[in-house]
């Protein structure tokens, strides 16, 4: 039925099966849109956030999603600027993941603010000293860049490229894609950083406050590093997942191993930097603000275990696995380590968002907890469903893994030679 839209020589499931796969996600999306609609129409009283917990699930997951989406800019940077050609195999998939992550995060942010219709105020009256201004500008610019990077992938669709102007525009745009990759890298550097700076500048929250370079607190650099470290890991994870779900080989093991190695290297640097930062913060920054660091970890459940988990369990451990060539060559190890790394960054974003707000600053204040309402969870599920839908459609109709056909042929060659060997 939709055969004409599917790239030549790749196998996709039947339209019926595809619809069957899409249906539950579409239902989830509908439910999520209803939740988000409630928040927009009735206001943020639909959430469980309050004056003490002004940020909640949404901000935590937005930060996580944007860190995981960093694979798009980082792979682009490695491929087009540093010329690591092996990564051509995953760049399209990385762009789609980036697009999904960023557009989803921005959509949730628009539900999260009290007056979404005033979003343009930040552009019109920017406070250039605010990290959030930097985030807003860079995120919106980068989403534009991602959309433009996604355009050639769409135009390369088998049916669309029969239109000569689409074909030619795709070709010409792809020639200039390195410019977009460069701009994307610049923008990502700053917004990943300023998302970390968001917390690092909070002088009034010594748990988050950090010293740094010029206007940028140390969290600025830590967030860049950690995002660049898990971006490739998340691509390994998603590619593996897509391979499992579609039951076909899409990318050469070497490409994934390269991603794993880069991820491991950056993760190791990040763990080192994070450790130094934590020590400086415990011994100098926090006490200077009048807050002995030990007190943050006496509010249960946030014990020092969370620090250990963040740095060692989900930082050092996956970094070591990814750096060991023998372990990384085994798919199970590679994917598990990538998963741990992603989880570690999610935990870091959780700590920065939730623990920062939960620990009291005033002595007569209480430790507060918060659990998201179903509308908050629903809104976020909408983003997950939207991501799965966009990715599924892209995987079906666009050529996300250019090596897929070649790998299929290679597999056929192996099979036929095996058969010959078996015959004699």
């Amino acid at each position: 039925m939709d055969k004409d839209f599917i790239a030549r020589g790749v196998k996709r499931c039947s339209t019926g099966r595809f619809l069957l796969w899409i249906a539950p996600w579409a239902a989830l999306l509908a439910f999520g849109l209803y939740s988000a609609g409630l928040c927009l129409v009735k206001g943020l009283n639909q959430t469980n956030m309050d004056n003490r917990f002004p940020f909640g699930l949404w901000i935590f997951l937005d930060l996580t999603v944007i860190a995981l989406g960093a694979g798009a800019f980082f792979t682009g940077f490695l491929l087009y600027i540093l010329k690591l050609d092996e990564l051509k195999a995953v760049i399209s998939s990385a762009v789609v993941i980036g697009l999904v992550c960023y557009s989803g995060a921005i959509a949730v942010l628009l539900v999260d603010v009290g007056q979404p219709l005033r979003a343009w105020f930040t552009f019109w009256y920017p406070n250039v000293h605010s990290m959030l201004t930097e985030v807003t500008f860079c995120l919106s610019c980068y989403l534009t860049v991602l959309a433009i990077e996604y355009l050639p992938i769409v135009l390369k669709n088998r049916k669309l490229r029969q239109v000569p102007s689409f074909l030619v525009f795709e070709f010409e745009l792809h020639k200039l894609i390195y410019v977009l990759a460069g701009v994307g890298t610049f923008l990502s550097f700053f917004h990943q950083g300023s998302l970390g700076g968001l917390y690092g500048v909070l002088r009034g929250r010594p748990f988050a406050f950090r010293e740094g370079l010029a206007v940028w607190p140390s969290t600025f650099f830590l967030f860049i590093l950690s995002a660049a470290a898990v971006g490739p890991s998340f691509i390994v994870l998603t590619t593996h997942l897509v391979e499992k779900l579609s039951r076909r080989r899409l990318v050469r093991q070497q490409a994934l191993e390269l991603l794993g190695r880069i991820s491991g290297l950056l993760l190791a640097v990040y763990v080192l930097a994070k450790t130094i930062d934590t020590l400086v913060w415990i011994n100098r920054t926090s006490p200077e603000s009048g807050f002995p660091a030990a007190q943050y970890y006496s509010w249960k459940p946030f014990g020092t275990w969370i620090l250990f988990a963040e740095i060692v369990l989900f930082g050092l451990a996956p970094a070591l696995v990814l750096l060991a060539p023998r372990l990384r060559a085994r798919r199970a190890w590679l994917v598990s380590a990538a998963g741990l790394a992603c989880f570690g960054v999610a935990l870091n974003r959780f700590v920065m968002t939730v623990q920062t707000l939960a620990v009291p600053t005033l002595s007569f204040d209480q430790f507060v907890s918060y659990f998201p309402s179903w509308q908050e969870i629903g809104t976020f599920l909408a983003v997950v469903a939207y991501g799965v839908l966009v990715y599924s459609l892209s995987f079906r109709y666009l050529q996300l893994f250019p090596e897929e056909r070649e790998l299929k042929m290679a597999q056929a060659a192996e099979e036929s030679s095996a058969e010959l060997v078996g015959r004699y």
Binding site: K3, R8, G9, K11, F123, W124, Y125, P126, N127, V128, H129, T133, E134, F137, C141, T144, V145, I148, R161, P164, S165, L167, V168, F169, E170, F171, E172, L173, K175, L176, V179, L180, V183, F186, L187, Q399, P402, R405, E406, K408, M409, Q411, A412, A413, E415, S416, E419, L420
Partner: protein
Amino acid sequence: MLPWNYGFHWNAGTLIFLGAFYTVLVVVATTVIRAAFHSRRELAAHHEESIRWHSDFHDLPAADRVCRHVLTGEFKHRECPHAFDCRECETHAKLIARHPLAPPAEPEEDILGMSFPLDRFYHRGHTWVHPEADGAVTIGLDDLGRRLLGNPDAVRFPALGAHIQANGTAFQVTKRDVQIDVLAPVDGAVVATGSAAGDWCLRVKPDASGEPAFRHLLRGSEIRPWLQREMERLQLALTAEGAAPTLADGGVPVADIAAGYPKADWDAVCGEMFLRP
């Protein structure tokens, strides 16, 4: 954002921040506009066929992009840098100047059970070019191409007088619901059309004549090694697309291969063999 807005201060922070922002906007906009502008120019110059081929060639598996001199064993590995257009290739010019193509060892026309007359040139997209006495050329599907598309369901030839470009589309063949755009072997104007089942398909008045105009086409002793490779590719494609690998024993392909492999994904097989990824 703008100097007359509330809260705007002429200070270093504002200038750096907004400077970076506007630079990014300008760079992104310029990139898109430049691409659009170039596209318009290319479209006006009717380069879309050549662009389509370059884009397709780029998407071919590395194993399919090898230089013809790898087929003959002169190189071990070499990827064609000119999208199979040897007319612009200096390496090719040097090589044929140094070692003119030896005539085939035995003057056979029957290669692997298929008929490949030596009086004509062959294009890697499975067409042949036969120079005629009047300066025109006839173009047809080669024997392997005919066996792949044998008894086509429909053929669409370009209009008389239409201009075809080498590696652009020569004509369209439909077989088993699969539409294949057969690559044109030469540049020229169509002067007559034949039939896909007949001896020739198109009669073309080429834009240029003489040896350099046909330099990109295979000939003589190159045909056999090329064809051997093509048979390997066909076998691989058939295996990959769900047909049993019966050709492995060196059997001769049947006249209508499509009919012989009803289960194979014919779209993929033909795309592979006619260099249309």
